[in-house]
Amino acid sequence: MSYRSDTKLWLAQRASAGVLAVCVTVHLVTIVYAVRGGLTAAEIFARTRGSVGWLAFYTVFVLAVAVHAPIGLRPVLTEWLGWRGRSRDVVLFIFATALVWMGMRAVLTVFA
């Protein structure tokens, strides 16, 4: 029944929202701090490479985003573009996979 999957999507969205509220706050604070005085790639990587803590943090961040963004777009596609049904959900799943792939590539580049 669709109400079961819709309920799970709603729960996943709120759970990832909670995780992201923390991640985004930390990220914003970190970025505001780091942006002061300009940055070079060397400077960034000196701070970040080899840091297991930050690697774990940003992995969680990427996974939470990959859950939250596609589910968030779902009602926009339905309500504003009239896109309903399986094709919409398949495309969103592909988007989620793309976010995980590109996100983990970025995380590993910066932190590994």
Partner: protein, 114 residues
């Protein structure tokens, strides 16, 4: 029957529907931005060339815009979480104002740091 709250004698200035619209538009904006953000970070040591590009004022403005989108989306999102998960209270109608304040603070902080 409950007494009408004085607040609704006039139409509220910052409406839930405006906050929800900003929340939605900022979310779409972020969803479009994120793949590019991941792509840029994945460039590794070529990043210096990319970082020099980001020194341009237009790019700085865009960066500031993205931070504001993030803060707006977070503010609107916290409002949704408060309404959906906390028992109903009258102050929940004013969460729109709080969301706005958060955005302002974040935008200011980032602008000052740039």
């Amino acid at each position: 029957m409950t007494k009408p709250p004085a607040r609704f004698a006039r139409d509220p200035l910052i409406r839930g529907s405006y906050v929800a619209l900003i929340h939605r538009l900022s979310g779409v904006g972020l969803a479009i931005f994120l793949p590019w953000h991941f792509w840029a970070l994945g460039k590794g040591l070529e990043m210096d060339a990319f970082l020099r590009w980001t020194e341009q004022p237009l790019v700085k403005f865009a960066e500031w815009g993205i931070v504001v989108l993030l803060a707006a989306h977070l503010g609107g999102g916290l409002r949704v979480l408060a309404i959906e998960f906390l028992d109903w209270h009258e102050w929940q109608k004013s969460l729109a104002a709080l969301a706005g304040a958060l955005v302002l603070a974040a935008g200011l902080a980032f602008a000052l740091a740039l």
